[in-house]
C-alpha cells in the first residue's frame, strides 16, 4: 500500500520548503507549463465554449453512469475483450495478478497509470514474483529511486538533471562508468535502449485509460513517448486499468474532451499518440495482443455520486490545477502524502482515504481560485475544499484551538454591532503597536500564524469603515 502521509502534511510541507533541490526543480518546471498552456488556449478561440460542452458531457454521463457502464462492458465483450468489475483496490490487484498468472507472466511492462498507483499494484505484483517495469520515462526513474510520482502527468517533476544522471549511473551498471551525458537527449537515449529490451521481453502489458468509450467498447490512452503503445502492442496480453468515471458515450464526446486535455495539460494542441484499443487481435492481424482485459475499478467513487463531491468525477487528470496552484508550487507533490497532489488531490484524497487522514489537504489552500479558473471541466475545487472543511468541523476533527476561535468569531459575526466594535478596536490596537513597522513578524496569541508569515500592519481602518466612506463619496 502507498503509505498515506497526508496527516503529516504540515511537517511534509516544512521539509519541502527547506529542500533546495526540490525548490530548484519546482522553480524551473512550473513556468514552462503555465506559459505553454496559456499559448495553446490563446490559439483556440473556442476553448471557453468547449469547456462548457465538456462539463455538460461529463454531467450527462455521470447522471446515467450505470447505463453507460453496462453498454460499455457489453461492447468490450462483443469485441472479444473481458471486463473485470472491481469494487475495491484489493479486488483489482487480485484480478490483475490472476490474469498475469494465467498468462505465465514473469515481467510486465507498464504505461503510466495513476489508478495503478492508487491500488498500489507494483508492490503486489512484486510480492507475488512478477516484475513490473515502468516504461514512461518519468515513471521509470521514479521506480529506480523507489519513490512515488510527485505530479500526475510529470511524475519526476521534483527532479533535476543531476538526479537523472546520478541515478542512471547507479542503476545501469553494465554501461561504462565514465560515460558522459552531454545533453538531456543522452539521458533519454540511454533510457530508450534500456527499456527496449524490457518491451520485447514482457509477457503482459498494463496501461491506464484516459477515457472509455461506451459506443465502441474502447479504452483510450494519451501519451507523447509511445511507451504506452509499445506496452500494449508487443506482449501477448494487454490489461487496461480504468476507474468507472472514465467512461464517455461516443467518439464525438471523446473528441471534445481531447481538444481540452492536451492543451490544459502540457500546452500541446494534441498529444503525439492518442490510441483507441478495442478487443484483441482480429483474424488476419499481424500484430497486437491476443487477449484484452479491462480492470474496471470503483474504489470509493460510486459513493461520491449524489454527494456534494460528485462533480469531482468530471476530472480528466490534466494537472492544470496543480500547475497553477501557489501551494503545490512551493511544496511539490510529495508533501500531499498520497497519490493525487494539488487541488484535485485535496478534494479527491479525503473522498477516497477519509477526511480523518486527509483533513489537512483541503485546508492547504489560499482559495485564490486559480485552479477552478483553469480547470477544463470547470470543477468548483475551492467550493469542494470548503465542503471538506465543513465536514471536518462537523466531525470534530478540527483542532480544539481552531474550533474555539471559530466559535468566538461566529459569536461576533452574528452580532454585527459587536463585530464592528471589536474589529475597530483590534485594528486600532494593531496600528498603534505596529507604528513605523509595516508588518509584524510575531504577535502575542498568534504565534502559530506568524511563524510561517508576516502580518501587515492595518492601514485605513476596518473594511466596514472604508466601505461606509466609499458609499458617502458616491
Amino acid at each position: 500500500m502507498v503509505q498515506i502521509t497526508s496527516p503529516a502534511f504540515k511537517r511534509n510541507a516544512a521539509r519541502a520548503l527547506g529542500d533546495a533541490g526540490l525548490q530548484k526543480a519546482l522553480g524551473k518546471a512550473k513556468g514552462a507549463f503555465l506559459q505553454r498552456r496559456a499559448e495553446a488556449v490563446a490559439r483556440l478561440p473556442e476553448f471557453e465554449a468547449l469547456r462548457e460542452i465538456g462539463r455538460d458531457i461529463k454531467n450527462h454521463t455521470l447522471a446515467n453512469l450505470d447505463v453507460y457502464l453496462e453498454i460499455y462492458a457489453a461492447n468490450v465483450e462483443r469485441a472479444g475483450g473481458t471486463v473485470h468489475w472491481c469494487s475495491t483496490a484489493e479486488e483489482a490487484r487480485a484480478a490483475v495478478l490472476e490474469i498475469c498468472r494465467k498468462a505465465g507472466a514473469r515481467t510486465v511492462t507498464k504505461g503510466k497509470s495513476m489508478i495503478s498507483e492508487e491500488i498500489a499494484l507494483n508492490d503486489h505484483l512484486e510480492r507475488h514474483g512478477i516484475t513490473p517495469v515502468e516504461t514512461d520515462l518519468g515513471e521509470y526513474i521514479i521506480q529506480l529511486r523507489g519513490e512515488h510520482p510527485s505530479h500526475i502527468i510529470a511524475p519526476a517533476f521534483h527532479l533535476n538533471r543531476e538526479d537523472w544522471e546520478a541515478d542512471f549511473r547507479r542503476m545501469h551498471t553494465d554501461l561504462p562508468a565514465d560515460r558522459v551525458f552531454h545533453e538531456r537527449r543522452d539521458i533519454l537515449a540511454e533510457a530508450r535502449t534500456k527499456l527496449r529490451e524490457r518491451f520485447l521481453a514482457a509477457d503482459v502489458g498494463i496501461t491506464g485509460a484516459n477515457f472509455l468509450i461506451a459506443e465502441t467498447g474502447s479504452s483510450v490512452i494519451v501519451t507523447n513517448e509511445g511507451n504506452g503503445d509499445l506496452t500494449q502492442t508487443l506482449p501477448r496480453v494487454h490489461i487496461a486499468l480504468a476507474s468507472i468515471e472514465k467512461v464517455v458515450p461516443t467518439l464525438e464526446d471523446a473528441c471534445t474532451l481531447l481538444r481540452l486535455l492536451a492543451r490544459s495539460a502540457t500546452g500541446q494542441d494534441f498529444s503525439v499518440y492518442t490510441t483507441f484499443s478495442t478487443g484483441g487481435r482480429r483474424p488476419g492481424d499481424l500484430d497486437g495482443p491476443e487477449e484484452y482485459h479491462v480492470v474496471l475499478i470503483d474504489n470509493g467513487r460510486s459513493n461520491m455520486i449524489g454527494t456534494e463531491f460528485q462533480e469531482m468525477l468530471r476530472c480528466i487528470r490534466c494537472a492544470a490545477c496543480m500547475n497553477h496552484c501557489p501551494v503545490y508550487g512551493v511544496t511539490g507533490g510529495h508533501a500531499y502524502g498520497w497519490v493525487y497532489p494539488g487541488p484535485m488531490g485535496s478534494v479527491l484524497t479525503p473522498s477516497l482515504v477519509g477526511v480523518d487522514k486527509a483533513g489537512h489537504l483541503p485546508n492547504a489552500s489560499t482559495f485564490c481560485g486559480k485552479c477552478e479558473s483553469v480547470c477544463p471541466m470547470k470543477i468548483p475545487l475551492p467550493k469542494m475544499m470548503r465542503h471538506w472543511r465543513e465536514r471536518e468541523f462537523e466531525r470534530h476533527l478540527t483542532p480544539a484551538a481552531a474550533r474555539r476561535n471559530l466559535g468566538l468569531w461566529a459569536w461576533f459575526a452574528k452580532r454585527p454591532g459587536m463585530y464592528r466594535l471589536a474589529t475597530r478596536a483590534a485594528v486600532g490596537a494593531l496600528r498603534l503597536l505596529g507604528r513605523g513597522k509595516g508588518a509584524f513578524r510575531s504577535l502575542p496569541l498568534a504565534g502559530g500564524w506568524t511563524a510561517g508569515r508576516d502580518l501587515p500592519v492595518p492601514e485605513g481602518g476596518t473594511f466596514m469603515a472604508r466601505y461606509a466612506r466609499m458609499q458617502r463619496g458616491r
Binding site: A29, F33, P45, E46, I53, A63, N64, D66, V67, E70, I71, R78, A79, G80, W85, C86, S87, D136, L137, I141, A154, P155, W164, R184, L188, R192, N224, E225, G226, D229, L230, L234, I244, P249, T250, L251, E252, C255, T256, L258, D269, F270, V272, Y273, T275, F276, S277, T278, G279, R282, P283, G284, D285, L286, D287, G288, L296, D298, S302, G306
Partner: protein, 235 residues
C-alpha cells in the same frame, strides 16, 4: 458480485432504480446518432487550404512532408528521403495493396519486406488511412494491411498519405472509418487499434524540457500523394 454492487451503489447515489425504458431509449438514441459538438473554426476551410493547414501543423510538431504528384513518384520520394537522412535503404512496408502495388522496381536499390515491423527494423513505411488538418494528425487504424508495429517500433516512420484523405476535424476522420470499415469480429467499424499520431515521439519528463525520440520514432516523414485535383499546390 462486484458488477451489481457497483451499479447499485451508483443508482443509490442517483436516487433511482434502473433507468426507465423511455430514458434508456434516449441514451441508445444518442449513441446511435453520436451527435457532433462544436468543431473549431480553424479547419473549416476550402480543400486546398485544409491541406496547407495539415502540412503547417505537421511541421509545427516536428514532422516533415514531401508532396509528390503521382503514385509512380512515391518510390523515388522514399529513396530520396532515406538518402538525405543518411539512413539504410532497407525497410518494412505495410502489406497494403496501395503500397505493395507501387512501381518499386524503379528504385532497385530499395530493399523491403511487406510485413509487420521487427525490433531490428530501422525504417517502417506505413499506409495512411486518413489525416486531420486541425492538428496535423494521422489516423492509422490497425488491419491485416496496416500492422500497428509499423507505427511505433522503428526509429524512422514514413507514412504514405493521399491528399484526398485529409479532412478538417477528428469527427470527419471517424466518419470515414464508420463508412468504410466492417470489423470481422464485432460487425461494427472499430478495429483492434486506432492510433492518432501527431509528430514524432517525444518526452518532457527531464526538467519539463522537450526532447524528441522517446520510445517511438525519432523522425516522422509524410509522403503526400497529390491525388485530389481540388488541392493541387498552386502552380
Amino acid at each position: 458480485m462486484s458488477r451489481d454492487a457497483i451499479l447499485s451503489a451508483i443508482r443509490r447515489g442517483l436516487r433511482r432504480g434502473p433507468l426507465p425504458a423511455d430514458q434508456r431509449a434516449m441514451i441508445e438514441g444518442r449513441l446511435a446518432t453520436h451527435p457532433r459538438h462544436l468543431i473549431p473554426a480553424r479547419s473549416r476551410l476550402p480543400r486546398a487550404e485544409q491541406v496547407a493547414l495539415f502540412i503547417r501543423n505537421v511541421e509545427k510538431e516536428f514532422g516533415t512532408v514531401a508532396r509528390v504528384p503521382g503514385a509512380q513518384d512515391v518510390p523515388a520520394a522514399v529513396a530520396d528521403y532515406l538518402a538525405a537522412q543518411n539512413l539504410p535503404s532497407r525497410f518494412a512496408l505495410a502489406p497494403h495493396p496501395e503500397l505493395t502495388g507501387l512501381p518499386w522496381s524503379s528504385r532497385p536499390m530499395l530493399e523491403f519486406e511487406a510485413r509487420r515491423a521487427q525490433p531490428s527494423d530501422a525504417v517502417a513505411v506505413q499506409h495512411g488511412f486518413a489525416a486531420i488538418a486541425e492538428t496535423g494528425t494521422l489516423m492509422l487504424p490497425s488491419d491485416a494491411a496496416r500492422p500497428t508495429t509499423l507505427n511505433i517500433l522503428a526509429d524512422t516512420g514514413i507514412v504514405v498519405l493521399r491528399a484526398s484523405r485529409i479532412v478538417g476535424a477528428y469527427e470527419e476522420a471517424w466518419d470515414l472509418l464508420r463508412a468504410e470499415r466492417r470489423d470481422p469480429v464485432t460487425g461494427g467499424f472499430m478495429p483492434r487499434n486506432v492510433m492518432l499520431v501527431t509528430g514524432p515521439s517525444r518526452s518532457a519528463d527531464i526538467e519539463q524540457t522537450l526532447e524528441l525520440g522517446a520510445h517511438g520514432p525519432r523522425r516522422l516523414h509524410i509522403i503526400l500523394l497529390d491525388d485530389d485535383p481540388a488541392v493541387l499546390p498552386a502552380a
